[in-house]
């Protein structure tokens, strides 16, 4: 039976058909991936270009008339104090969150390597916040941050530290949200760094140890240089994530009844506000384009700085 199938498969017709496909490799790939590419273009690429196009219009969802206004939305952005505050907050937030998340994640990942036998347990534990969605996670933190009944203030009071308005004080809220964002994402980057650390040949570290290199020297001269591609990946990914921060800011700063919070502005919340509360889609589009350019510039800069030099 098996030989019969082989015989059929090796028949001339099939062979020539296979050769044709083999020669037209592109068509073969396209037939398999075409639909996926098409979906990607419709869902991902088209909205970007449509947003760029809309940013040149005074487009209000309800209004029927949508006039072309050229660069006026961008001109207004230059004068918009709220957008400037949001941009400054977003840059500060992203910078602090990236730094905090990656340093803590890398430190934990390195420490976990020294307790290899139990590290999967801790990796799982650290990964739990990653799989928790932003909204419930932020709601939990809102309770923890509550100035009157929150656990954080209670804990601080044990050491005689006065109650803090974590979400009410403009000077504290940014740090409070950085803490939530880092807590949420650290588990993911622990896994990323762990993969990178496992790929460093143990013989390099052993050789360095025999040569008398201290732990810090091994980190400085072996681990960090070899982790460079992983650090680049983690930095790029976290930069993109944190520049687009929205859900924790939205939930933590929402002034629900009795739970007031300082209205911290970030770029995405301004986009949301202009687009979905004021229905000024054209203006929100212009803000989105600025964010896109900013994130792309940051990522390009990171690639330039971290890419391995030949």
């Amino acid at each position: 039976m098996y030989s019969k199938v082989i015989a059929t498969f090796s028949s001339k017709k099939l062979r020539s058909l296979y050769q044709k496909f083999n020669h037209r490799h592109g068509i073969w790939i396209l037939s398999g991936l075409g639909s996926v590419y098409l979906l990607f273009i419709i869902i991902r690429i088209f909205p970007i270009f449509e947003t760029i196009r809309l940013s040149f219009y005074r487009y209000h969802i309800i209004k029927k008339h949508t006039p072309f206004i050229g660069l006026k939305n961008y001109e207004r952005l230059l004068r918009d104090e709220n957008f400037h505050i949001a941009l400054s907050n977003t840059i500060q937030f992203a910078f602090m969150a990236v730094l905090c998340t990656l340093i803590v994640a890398l430190t934990i990942a390195i420490l976990l390597r020294s307790i290899e036998h139990v590290s999967p347990f801790f990796e799982t534990l650290f990964y739990i916040p990653v799989i928790t969605s932003w909204v419930p996670a932020s709601v939990i933190w809102k309770w923890l941050y509550d100035p009157t009944f929150g656990l954080i203030n209670y804990f601080l009071s044990l050491f005689g530290i006065a109650k803090q308005g974590w979400l009410q004080e403009p000077d504290l809220i940014l740090y409070a949200i950085v803490m939530v964002a880092s807590w949420k994402m650290i588990g993911y980057y622990i896994i990323v760094f762990t993969v990178g650390l496992k790929n460093i040949p143990i013989s390099y570290l052993e050789a360095a140890e025999i040569d008398g290199a201290s732990a810090l020297q091994r980190l400085r001269y072996i681990i960090l240089p070899l982790l460079r591609p992983i650090i680049l990946f983690a930095t790029v990914m976290s930069t993109i994530q944190f520049f687009n921060v929205f859900a924790p800011v939205y939930v933590l700063t929402a002034s629900a009844q009795g739970a007031p919070a300082y209205d911290l502005k970030v770029v995405v919340s301004e986009i949301y506000r202009n687009g979905f509360e004021y229905y000024k889609m054209g203006y929100a589009g212009a803000e989105s384009v600025v964010l896109l350019v900013l994130v792309m510039s940051m990522v390009t800069l990171q690639f330039t700085l971290f890419r391995e030099r030949k």
Binding site: I61, I62, K63, K64, R76, N82, P147, T148, K163, Q164, G165, Q168, E169, P170, S255, Q257, G258, A259, P260, A261, Y262, D263, R273, F276, E277, Y278, Y279, K280
Partner: protein, 440 residues
């Protein structure tokens, strides 16, 4: 001809019969006209459900679908669906979003009988009708209102030796100071008056409550041309400065009556961490539910140059793209019946706006609602001037206010506060101008 056995015939019939019934039911359902209703205030669902049952019995060819959303979701969904004709047939619109739909021709003018009711001052206060009238046509029935009032904690008043709620604005702040309770370190444990210190658009509204009494007008008033708005702060500069100073002076230093770290607003009042609150009708039910042990009273807003209450109203309108306009108006007529309005009041606490309906039995059982339902001579009722940029103006305006509240250098600083007022005026005017609705 092929002959089947009895069993096969019976099996065929028994299989076909439910199929036929099913097909009939589907065709029956498909034949029904559908009326969709979206609600942004889910707590008002009960009368709609009641009328739906009655309506579907009366008009068996119609099926009514009611969906409730959170208020913000409702606004967003309505904004994106209405221009494409995918929105609901019956619209429940709160006053400040009406112009968006009215100006774009998305609302249907009312039939004559309903117009007559709405235009009759014995049946409806003209304050509420004006916002939905354009060039002699009326586009909706004002349905219910939420009205502002003073909420005061009876135990806290007794403890402070106060026997009645404050009558004037001066008394209001004086009482707030007396009612504030501080701990040994001087930190506030109980606010004398819980202010709206965050939540920008809500903060604007609450600041406006006392400004209105002091200035005799709102911060945003209708302009000469329909749909336009003027900002009144500059023309009432001294009053505006005093209104803002009153708040800032009571947020810092010795006269402080509130703190950001306390529970706020209705929840703060319901948890006993505030002695006074300025809020609207809905807060009565909220406090009863969330603070069952709190003994409280309600009173008319404090008096300044005038005395008046802020109202936010809900209007029932019909989409101009609805296929069943007549029947939707009929549904609205049924919602106006005594039974349906009484149920609305009982279940949601919102006061129906029909003056020719009787709610005395409810008021007798629930005297707390008197302050927000009874019309008292000289107590003016006002609503914010609806405009297409309402949300943006009030939000941006509130952001400036929030920052000013935190600035302790503004305590007793008239010049500093004046510059804040000018910034508020400028912020509002720029947005109104950008939206093309700034009054000349």
């Amino acid at each position: 001809m092929i002959k089947f056995s009895n069993t096969i015939r019976q099996l065929t019939v028994s299989a076909l019969f439910p199929m036929i019934i099913f097909m009939l039911l589907i065709s029956q359902a498909a034949a029904k006209e559908k009326i969709s209703i979206w609600l942004g205030y889910g707590e008002t669902l009960a009368p709609f459900e009641m009328v739906k049952d009655k309506f579907e019995k009366k008009y068996p060819n119609y099926e009514v679908n009611i969906l409730t959303f959170s208020l913000r979701d409702f606004e967003s969904k309505l904004a994106s669906s209405m221009p494409t004709g995918a929105g609901p047939d019956l619209l429940t619109l709160h006053d400040f979003i009406i112009p968006k739909y009215l100006d774009e021709g998305l609302l249907e003018p009312m039939p004559k009988d309903l117009t007559a009711i709405v235009n009759d001052p014995a049946k409806m206060n003209p304050t509420y009708t004006n916002i939905i009238a354009r060039e002699g046509k009326v586009y909706g029935v004002p349905y219910w209102t939420g009205r502002s009032a003073i909420f005061y904690n009876l135990d806290h008043f007794k403890e402070a030796g106060l026997t009645s709620p404050p009558d004037t604005i001066e008394e209001f702040w004086e009482y707030a100071e007396k009612l504030t309770k501080k701990d040994a370190n001087g930190d506030i444990e109980r606010a004398g008056m819980t202010m709206r210190l965050t939540g920008p658009s809500g903060g604007t509204q609450k600041f406006g409550y006392l400004y209105y009494q002091m200035a005799g007008m709102q911060m945003l008033e209708p302009g000469k041309k329909v749909g336009t708005i003027r900002v009144t702060l500059k023309e009432n500069m001294d009053i505006a400065v005093q209104a803002l100073l009153d708040r800032i002076n009571h947020l810092h230093g010795e006269r402080k009556v509130d703190d950001w770290k306390l529970k706020h607003d209705a929840q703060g009042f319901a948890s006993g961490t505030a002695a006074m609150l300025l809020r609207e009708t809905w807060a009565i039910a909220f406090i009863k539910k969330n603070g069952p042990k709190i003994k409280f009273g309600t009173a008319l807003m404090p008096k300044g140059k005038i005395r008046g209450a802020f109202n936010y109203i809900e209007v029932l309108s019909v989409s101009s793209m609805s296929k069943s306009k007549e029947k939707v108006w009929e549904f609205i007529r049924m919602l106006q019946e005594q039974k349906a309005l009484a149920l609305l009041l009982k279940e949601s606490g919102y006061s129906p706006l029909r003056l020719d309906r009787d709610f005395s039995a409810f008021l007798k059982e629930n005297p707390l609602y008197k302050a927000v339902m009874e019309d008292v001579a000289g107590y003016s009722q006002y609503i914010e001037a609806p405009n297409t940029a309402y949300k943006e103006v009030t939000t941006r305006f509130g952001e400036v206010l929030q920052d000013a509240y935190r600035d302790s250098s503004l305590v007793n600083n008239k010049e500093g506060v004046k510059s804040v007022i000018l910034k508020l005026q400028k912020t509002a005017e720029e947005i109104l101008d950008d939206s093309g609705i700034l009054s000349e």
